[in-house]
């Protein structure tokens, strides 16, 4: 069997990659993809635990996460489109009019 720690390590690496991309990338679409990456990394962790603890709760929770991710992607893309129409730019650093 593949040990649990391998799954978790993969999950962590994916999550960190997603987080790093989320912070450092400039294109809004790329940022969204990184968000999805983080969510899926967490899904992977849930599945791994579910398998290794013999408890189905983890897999049920994955369903919830997938649903939320989907809804969030839909709404987020709608916002991006509205932003693009107004600013002609997909650079996240240009979205700064809410500064104090």
């Amino acid at each position: 069997m593949v040990p649990l720690s391998h799954y978790l390590a993969l999950s962590v690496i994916l999550f960190v990659l997603g987080a790093a991309g989320f912070i450092f990338r400039r294109n809004i679409i790329t940022v969204f993809m990184c968000i999805e990456l983080m969510l899926n990394a967490v899904n992977l962790a849930f599945m791994a635990f579910s398998r290794f603890l013999g408890n189905l709760d983890g897999q049920i929770f994955v369903f919830f996460v997938i649903v939320v991710a989907a809804a969030e992607a839909a709404v987020g893309l709608a916002i991006i489109i509205a932003l693009h129409r107004n600013r002609e730019s997909l650079n996240i650093e240009d979205v700064d009019s809410m500064k104090m």
């Binding site: 987080a19 989320f22 912070i23 979205v95 700064d96 009019s97 809410m98 500064k99 104090m100």
Partner: protein
């Protein structure tokens, strides 16, 4: 009729009158205002008389009548009711206060007719009467203090009645601030009293003190006595807190008559007399009372010798006579002190009202050097003023003679009496007679030195002012006859009457003081006091009627002494240098410039604002609008939280 209702009916009308006149008086006519004002005072007098009658004929007499109406303060062990304590002393005080107050209210109808603020005056005067009655009928120290402070307030309001005049406003402030010093002593004394006896009720405290064997608790009782006396020193203008009284003459003359001669200033004497049992068990404190009283009487008497302002002279005379009252109490003859309080109320208010009448006639002039020969035009004023002068000088058969003689006798042979107290007192009596007759002569007799302008307006006052003068003159003559001296085979009825009040105190004092060998008999003592009055009167008449150039020559020859006396020993200047100027400097340079402007305004108020703005400026940088930075903060927060969770579990 129940006494508790009568007493309430005595005390409340002036309060109602004050409220009515104070709140609605602006719209009332002068007639309505004076009706309410004099009505309030008149009702008080009527009910005071009724209460006296009912009490005197009741079965409990002479035991004090007490009645608690409701519990005013209940805090732990401290309990103070709104309650009256009515005994023979209260009877005398209430009668004196209400009669004199009523007469002065009547007089004010005439005097204040053409002054502004008519309704305000009567409102304050009524309020004062209410407070004074509260003071003398109170059954415990806190309630008495309410009256004490109340009369102080009314005194301030009335002295500063002509508030647009700076000297009047200053005088009001001075009176209040100086008496405050005394009030501090009073408060601490009451606190000490409570700490010792766990009660502030007269009956409770006095019974407990009376039950003490001699010498027990003496030190704390002495402290209490001295502190209470400090309050009296302030309120009754004794050394060294007398300085406010002469300045208080800025107020309208009826105020000077009522508050600063007959009633408020006697509150201190009442306090000492009421607390007689406490002082009796603290003879050292009582001795201080007597000495301060005697010295004050002498001191003020010397200043009165050279005063040229008629009211100022009377003011110093009041301070001096108050000293006599404290001398009486201090020597252990409390009844004599109260007797003098009563007679003094009559003849002093008479003298002041007479001065007001003169002032009225002289178009506001009070400098006696610009008077003279007024007896021709001001017949009634002159006649009554003469009665008052005879009374205060201690001329036999007039009121002041009997009371002053009793005090002097007590100063010599009373429980704490000492011969030197008597001799100083007798000398002061000579001074009293001198300056009073000096005043009389300068004002009414001799050639007229009145300025032509004023001469034309000289007129006797109307009936509204002269009738009270005549009534007071009557009392100034007969009020002394209630206590015919022993030396004339009298029964000293007044003293006997007050025995139930002061008996315990007097007995306690007799145990302390050894019988002194009285070298002089009462008859001889009386002889000396009559002689003193005669000498004073004689010299005054000689110098101010016959050889009128003598005073000027003396003033030239002893110019320095004359200057010191005219400047009242420079006491005001001394206090100014010692206390007022340092306080003003500290207030200005430190408290205002440093504390108020710098610390409070700059550091605390502005500083808080500026700090908040600065911190806000720093925190604002989180809201940069830069979304990736938001993401980074979220991540940081999540990491920290995770660490915390793991740390807690580890």
């Amino acid at each position: 009729m129940n006494l508790e209702i009568l007493l309430l009916l005595m005390v409340l009308p002036p309060l109602v009158g004050a409220a009515l006149n104070g709140i609605l008086g602006r719209r009332f006519s002068q007639a309505t205002v004076s009706l309410i004002g004099c009505g309030g005072a008149g009702l008080s007098m009527v009910f005071a008389l009724l209460s006296a009658w009912i009490y005197s004929n009741s079965t409990i007499e002479p035991v004090p009548f007490t009645y608690p109406y409701f519990t005013w303060i209940q805090a732990g062990e401290l309990r103070a009711e709104y309650a009256f304590y009515y005994d023979r002393l209260t009877l005398i005080m209430t009668l004196t206060v209400t009669v004199v107050a009523f007469l002065i209210h009547l007089y004010s109808r005439g005097y204040m007719e053409h002054e502004g603020g008519y309704y305000r005056f009567f409102a304050y005067l009524n309020l004062f009467l209410f407070m004074m009655l509260t003071l003398v009928t109170a059954a415990n120290y806190p309630l008495m203090f309410v009256g004490w402070e109340g009369v102080g307030l009314c005194s301030y309001l009335l002295i500063g009645f002509y508030f647009r005049k700076k000297s009047a406003a200053d005088a009001g402030k001075k009176a209040f601030i100086v008496t405050r010093i005394g009030d501090a002593g009073f408060t601490v004394g009451v606190a000490l009293l409570f700490w010792t006896f766990k009660s502030l009720d007269f009956k409770t405290v006095f019974d407990r003190v009376a039950g003490l064997p001699q010498r027990q608790l003496e030190s704390v009782l002495t402290a209490i006595g001295l502190l209470l006396f400090l309050g009296a020193v302030g309120k009754s203008a004794q050394l060294p807190l007398y300085v406010w009284l002469p300045d208080a003459m800025e107020g309208p003359t009826p105020v000077s008559a009522l508050i600063h001669a007959a009633t408020m200033v006697t509150a201190g004497v009442y306090l000492v007399a009421r607390s007689s049992i406490i002082f009796a068990h603290a003879p050292s404190a009582l001795a201080v009372v007597g000495v301060v009283g005697c010295l004050t009487a002498l001191f003020a008497g010397t200043i009165a010798l050279t005063q040229n302002d008629l009211k100022r002279m009377l003011a110093y005379s009041t301070i001096s006579q108050l000293g006599y009252m404290f001398l009486g109490c201090g020597a252990g003859v409390f009844a004599a002190g109260i007797f003098h309080l009563m007679t003094h109320a009559f003849f002093k208010s008479l003298l002041f009202l007479g001065a007001g009448s003169v002032m009225h006639a002289m178009s506001g002039e009070l400098d006696m050097r610009k008077m003279g020969g007024l007896w021709r035009k001001l017949r009634t004023t002159h006649a009554t003023f003469l009665m008052g002068t005879l009374a205060i000088s201690g001329v036999p058969l007039f009121a002041g003679f009997f009371s002053k003689d009793e005090i002097l006798a007590g100063a010599y042979e009373g429980p704490l009496g000492r011969p030197w107290l008597f001799w100083l007192g007798a000398f002061t009596a000579a001074l009293t007679a001198f300056y009073m007759f000096r005043g009389l002569c300068l004002t009414f007799y001799g050639k007229s030195r009145v300025e032509p302008e004023a001469e034309r307006h000289l007129h006797e006052s109307g009936y509204k002012m002269t009738i009270p003068l005549m009534v007071l003159a009557f009392f100034s003559v007969v009020a002394g006859w209630v206590s015919w001296p022993k030396a004339w085979h009298g029964s000293e009825a007044f003293d006997r009457y007050l025995d139930p009040v002061f008996g315990r105190a007097t007995d306690a004092l007799r145990n302390v003081s050894p019988e002194h060998n009285a070298n002089l008999s009462s008859g001889e003592l009386m002889g000396f006091s009559i002689l003193a009055a005669a000498i004073g009167m004689g010299i005054a008449l000689w110098w101010y009627l016959k050889s009128t150039d003598i005073p000027e020559q003396l003033a030239e020859r002893y110019a320095d002494l004359y200057r010191i006396l005219t400047h009242k020993y420079y006491v005001d200047e001394f206090y100014n240098w010692l206390i007022v100027r340092p306080l003003c400097i500290i207030s200005d340079k430190f408290l205002w410039r440093v504390v108020d402007t710098e610390v409070i305004d700059h550091v605390m108020v502005n500083g808080t604002g500026e700090e908040t703005a600065r911190v806000g400026g720093v925190l604002r940088r989180i809201q940069s609008g830069n979304i990736p930075s938001y993401a980074a903060w979220v991540l940081l927060g999540a990491v920290l939280w995770l660490l915390y969770v793991f740390a807690a579990h580890a």
